[in-house]
Symmetry: C2
Subunit: 422 residues, 2 copies
């Protein structure tokens, strides 16, 4: 069973998405197809699994299990938030990674993740080069936050965008129906530093009376005074207010509003309101505008909503996985696969490559021309950018019980060859 | 245009659902088909719309708008939470209702809602009878809470059940993937007095490692000590914990745990934790178990999730609307349409009728044999009850922009004939 061909590791890192498994599927199926790679090993829980030598043979899984990755959300191989620091500070960790690679004849490393993961992959790659160990490291972009530089967009974003926009439409109709009682709805979406997810809900507003009426992104500095006046204005016009807020809103001083609220820290009972952005906005609205507000916090549902994922996103995520393998085999190294939007009217997306190091140090925020002048909604340019990414509904299999069917790996762990590390 | 035939009012009340508009569609289409009803009028915002004489001619809307009700969540006619008290206390309101009915030749009143709405419909009906005004009042069950008595289940419940179970599956995979970092997820679902929605998430647990591992319903008295021990036990077995909690959990003294938490009121910083059930459970877990927890609160998304609604639910909601009209025409009065589960192996559902007064005074909680002995999950009997209700996926129309298409009425308001009332 053991091939003399070099083995590959595929690993997943950071917050899961609806389509990171599609990328893994692309890697695995392309690796098999190439005939150039021995076994594809999964590192349980990303780089943590490598360090702990928790590897399992994905090549030994049933082909239908591999195929079903395309319909399974989250990270089937296992994810982590373990961050390696500089090579100097985390020297033991980096050397351990190479030891594990050597022990299992691993010469390909495919790492799907965000900035931090690209940083890790880059450092592993540089250390391997310095040590004369032959290794091809290729990164695969993954983040619902859509904040990676050098790629037009990130796999994972199209699906969260489609889902949060749909939820805004639906909950918007709920607020519209019950405006005489629950007049205001506040949705808190993910995005600590970038407002891409909040921006996507803007697609739900096909006309001015549609939800959301107000969208606040971390890129536009937040003022409670302006917010109260925005809410009053919308309420006057539509008798209801539907608000979307990114979780990482910051004030004029660049501080998170959850930490620094100035005169707006007490609710109408004089209590300091704790909690996330939505809780705080709710307290401010109830005190300053005097209307009843309620909060929706989709939380991890937004990034795992496979049941209404974007087909475009699933296909592009798969393509990124495929292209990572093709790039590695063709001799590329230290690169991340990027998505490239072709010029011209019709949306068409191909792939490119960017240096891991560049991606690791970059960050892509919502640009100023995607945010309206008042800092409370998106522009047409923003809609044009997001719209193609949410198109199509990814197929899912529904079981006899009326619920989706997801796969799980059998996860036959490889025998460990090295002493326990952590 | 004005027919000499008696007109009908159709109105919606209380929290919206994904399928209350399907019931309205059933009423409207059956009324037209019957040939016995003049115009079908919509009362904007339920009984509040009647009181304010805010009526619009639904018969004048385009047939495709009416048909699209089946694919539109929330309450397209408009809902309210306006509660009429006893006939004595709200005498003016009740008489106003009859005045409006008289002014617009309304002799049929179809009211979709929960207990309170059935109570209102019953009182209107009795007053009409006492006043010698000919009126057929038929109620249509509607509530995601599934807590109406005399009906096997309520339209709206199957869709929320399908959605929350699917979200539990998906977010459960997210927790499973990222257990090394975010070890525990708590989902807060609707249901202040009845745990039916929380119970539905139990369908997601096809095996013991599947989410949710723990389900808490208001029917089982909640103990923080037991909760902490449950969480520790699950964490020991699976290295992760996925919890679903109904918003209305109560302690041994029958008090909401959001109001009375005894020794568990302070978080690990010594602050009194405010907020809903999920926030409180999160604080307790982080302090007493020492693992990181996060909260998902789908809020109004759960009751408006048309994009993954149950086809069974949509069809049954429509059937309830149809049967309300048939019952009224055949001379029934003061009744609510009920759903009747036929005996036998295969699920089959027909309709029946129950007295409005009985429904108004009843409440159906999750029975003891649907909750496991430890009070932290559902039984097979519960699964057997819920499973057929979530089957099938309701069709939706997706626009060119990749998002669902919902209808809105043109809402041509009738000219008011009476003086302003409120």
């Amino acid at each position: 069973m053991i091939s003399s061909k070099p083995n590959a590791i595929v690993a997943q890192s950071g917050g899961p998405t609806a389509v990171i498994n599609s990328s893994a599927c692309g890697v695995i199926q392309e690796a098999v197809k190439s005939g150039r790679i021995g076994r594809v090993l999964g590192a349980a829980n990303g780089i943590l699994g490598v360090l702990q030598e928790d590897l399992f043979d994905i090549s030994a899984e049933k082909p239908e299990t591999i195929e079903a990755l395309k319909q399974t959300p989250a990270a089937a191989i296992g994810s982590c938030r373990y961050k390696l620091k500089s090579i100097e500070e985390s020297k033991a960790d980096f050397e351990r990674v190479l030891d594990v690679f050597r022990a299992h004849n691993i010469h390909y490393f495919f790492y799907a993740g965000g900035n931090d993961s690209m940083d890790t992959a880059d450092k592993v790659n540089r250390l391997a080069a310095d040590s004369g160990y032959e290794l091809a490291c290729i990164g695969i972009p993954k983040t619902v936050d859509n904040d990676l530089a050098y790629t037009d967009h990130c796999p994972g974003y199209g699906s969260v965008a489609k889902y949060v926009a749909t939820c805004a439409m639906e909950a918007g109709r709920d607020t519209e129906a019950l405006y005489t009682h629950d007049t205001c709805t506040i949705v808190e979406v993910m995005g600590r530093n970038a407002g891409w997810i909040a921006a996507a809900t803007g697609l739900a507003a096909r006309c001015s009376e549609d939800a959301p009426h107000l969208i606040y992104m971390p890129e536009a500095s937040f003022s409670f005074e302006k917010f109260v006046s925005d809410v009053k204005e919308v309420h006057k016009e539509f008798s209801r207010v539907f608000i979307v807020a990114g979780e990482g809103l910051k004030n004029e001083k660049g501080k998170y509003i959850t930490a620094d609220r100035g005169a707006f820290s007490e609710d109408s009972f004089g209590h300091v309101q704790l909690g996330g952005v939505a809780d705080i906005l709710k307290a401010v609205i109830e005190k300053e505008v005097g209307i009843k507000a309620r909060c929706n916090k989709p939380g991890t549902n937004q990034r795992s909503a496979m049941h209404f994922a974007s087909l475009t996103d699933v296909n592009e995520a798969y393509m990124c996985g495929q292209m990572a393998v093709k790039a590695a085999i063709s001799g590329e190294n230290g690169k991340m696969v990027t998505l490239v939007r072709e010029e011209g009217g019709e949306y068409k997306c191909t792939t490119g490559l960017a240096k891991l190091r560049d991606v690791a140090n970059g960050e892509k925020k919502v640009p100023a021309n995607y945010i309206n002048d008042r800092g409370n909604h998106i522009t047409e340019a923003c809609r044009d950018y997001i719209r193609p990414l949410i198109k199509g509904e990814a197929p899912i299999t529904i079981g006899e019980d009326g619920l989706p069917v997801f796969m799980r790996f059998e996860r036959k762990l490889l025998q460990k060859k090295l002493p326990k590390y952590m």
